[in-house]
Amino acid sequence: MLGAVYALVALGYTLVYGVLRLINFANSEVFMLSAFGSFLTIEILDIPQRLASGGDPVKTGWELIGILALCLLVSVLIGGVSAVVVERVAYRPLRQRNAPRLVFLISAIGASFAISEAVGEWGPQQRKEYALTKFFKKEQLFTIFGADVYNSNVIVVVGAAIMALALVLFVGKSRVGRGIRAVAQDAETAKLMGVNVDRIILITFLVGGLMAGGAAFLYEIHTPFARYDVGFSIGVKAFTAAVLGGIGNVRGALLGGLLLGLIESWGSSLFGSDQNIGNVAAFVTLVLVLMVRPSGLLGESLGRSKA
């Protein structure tokens, strides 16, 4: 379940890494901002309606779908915009000075600190946990192999699948996608061939942000809580997922995310209910995989892969 969310956030890391060979540490804060964005949207939409309908907060049917779509839109937009802002502020000035790679890392970390602390300081709930008002009823739909499937699960999986598919098509088929792959393969040559490298990088950040925004929304459906530091742990997991599948590889990120989610839940159900064990299992798997396949499950290179 979480695997789908990891996979989407991992896409953001993998795309930026493929193009710039840099870890975008601020991606996790993009995720957090989007999560808050979708929360606020629901709050705003919800309160007047609840007042009108005399207190029944649970939505169904088209109304629910409309709310979901709107929230998705808002959080995706916030994700995209904030990712682009991060690129402009923390990356572009450095890129134009040909700074060493570590410096990008630190400026991204600085950006991520600033964003998360700003939300913690001046955000809607400050440092407290922000709980979402329940706006639709969790219902059990059917059972597969003894596992209960809820309607929220279906939304998450279908949403993630659609976004991932759209991304794969975008990178593989569209003109801009071809540009992204060209820059990932060889930025200098791409530039000589008339690709606007700066614009491609901006678009890459934008797409990564869109994915993180979508992921944030789906995450909220699954876990209706958010806090100013929610991005950090998700970010670490998603980055792990990206590396697991082979960073810079779009399909690898999807595979890695799903696997990581599975390993985590298996780990904690096999070795006790402690959630920590799941995390340990995830990292141990990563180390083992990298020992056998030093460049991740599907290998790297956004440029060489077909998608």
Partner: protein, 390 residues
């Protein structure tokens, strides 16, 4: 360390725009300070170092204006700033000298702290003096254990694996009762008193004592690393950092030296962990969050990786700024993040960059090589905007 001081990069046009000629003047002045320092006779240099050392030892008793932050500046120095300097020196071995990106350095810090805690409080009562070398040894062993399987990985993969290592250490400590689980370990031994330096006296006496201890550790480590840097080991690290394949071809046993870098870095990290544990006397897993690793790394990169003096400055900046900004209350970390970003944008090579500059062109796998702005003539460069539109 290096022979050429003339290879400081030409001030970029962007810097000119922002700082005007002041920036350039400052850069020139620094160069002359360096060359003057080189020109001094050896005894004079030794004397200056001695004066500096004495000044540092006296710092808490001097009551300087402006600099102190809270009523208890000594405690800040002893508990935060100087340990950060030590950690940064250790991480610099891995990141700055050998060029290996380590995002889980807090793991070694935790190993050191937990070793000391277990040895002196939880499961045994080993004397403090004896348990320090044992703890450092255990940390180095942890470095070897982590390094042996993973050092064959390339840059970013190594980074994520070390990050995982840091988390694993913390989570293990959190879920293992043997290591105190969530509640941690208390009653960790303090160092024995040495004459007037009382580790068991009043709070003031204790802080001063720990400050002296920490500064002593830093000085010892600094001179140890200084020697190491100019030895065969240090030169091999430089070679590995600049171009690992070339180093390997030239007959440098890269794997062995990378492992050494990891072990020595881990040992120093462990040492600062023991310092921390014996100072606060109570540790729990939450003291070793991943964020700490990132702050450590920020200290190294901010100071200028590879330059030990720079790294020490960076550590002071990273640990001192949040305290200095305390008047901003809880928003101080926000401003700290903004400052990190701004400092990186305006001074990407660190406060004091390492002198031995890379002369080779970056390989395409290392740096996006399509914006080689800083290599050209400063007058021919574009401004901060508009050089790279194709």
């Amino acid at each position: 360390m290096s022979q050429d001081t003339s290879s400081t990069p030409p001030p970029t046009a962007a810097a000119k725009l922002v700082f005007g000629s002041r920036f350039i003047a400052a850069a020139r002045r620094r160069r002359t300070i360096e060359s003057r320092w080189k020109a001094l006779p050896r005894p004079a240099r030794a004397l200056l170092v001695l004066v500096l050392v004495v000044f540092i030892y006296l710092l808490p008793s001097l009551h300087l204006p402006i600099i102190p932050t809270s009523s208890d500046f000594t405690a800040l120095l002893a508990m935060i700033i100087v340990p950060y300097v030590l950690v940064a020196l250790g991480l610099n071995v891995v990141v700055g000298m050998a060029g290996l990106l380590d995002l889980g350095y807090v793991g070694f810090y935790a190993v050191g702290a937990y070793s000391l805690a277990i040895l002196t409080s939880q499961h045994a009562t080993v004397p403090w003096l004896l348990s320090i070398p044992i703890s450092v040894g255990i940390s180095m062993l942890a470095g070897l254990l982590l390094g042996a399987p993973t050092l064959r990985l390339r840059g970013d993969y190594l980074a994520i694996v070390t990050l995982g290592f840091g988390e694993i250490i913390r989570l293990l400590a959190k879920s293992s009762d043997w290591m105190g689980a969530q509640s941690g370990i208390g009653n960790i031994k303090s160092p024995p008193n040495i004459g007037p330096i009382k580790f068991s006296g009043t709070i003031q006496e204790r802080n001063i004592a720990f400050y002296y201890l920490a500064v002593t550790f830093v000085i010892v480590v600094f001179f140890f690393l200084r020697r190491l840097e100019s030895s065969r080991v240090g030169r091999s690290w430089t070679a590995i950092r600049e171009d690992e394949d070339a180093a390997e071809l030239m007959g440098v046993p890269t794997f062995k030296f990378k492992l050494w870098a990891f072990a020595i870095g881990a040992g120093i990290g462990g040492l600062s962990g023991t310092l921390y544990a014996s100072n606060v006397r109570f540790i729990n897993p939450d003291n070793f969050q991943l964020k700490l690793s990132i702050l450590f790394l920020a200290a190294v990169v901010l100071g200028g990786p590879g330059n030990m003096v720079g790294v020490m400055f960076g550590a002071v900046a990273v640990s001192y700024l949040p305290e200095r900004l305390r008047f901003l209350n809880t928003s101080r970390y926000f401003w700290f993040g903004v400052m990190l970003m701004v400092m990186m944008v305006f001074r990407p090579q660190g406060l004091l960059p390492r002198k031995l500059r890379e002369r080779i062109r970056p390989r395409d796998s290392d740096v996006p090589a399509f914006v080689d702005v800083s290599e050209g003539d400063p007058d021919l460069e574009g401004g901060p905007h508009g050089t790279v539109t194709a």
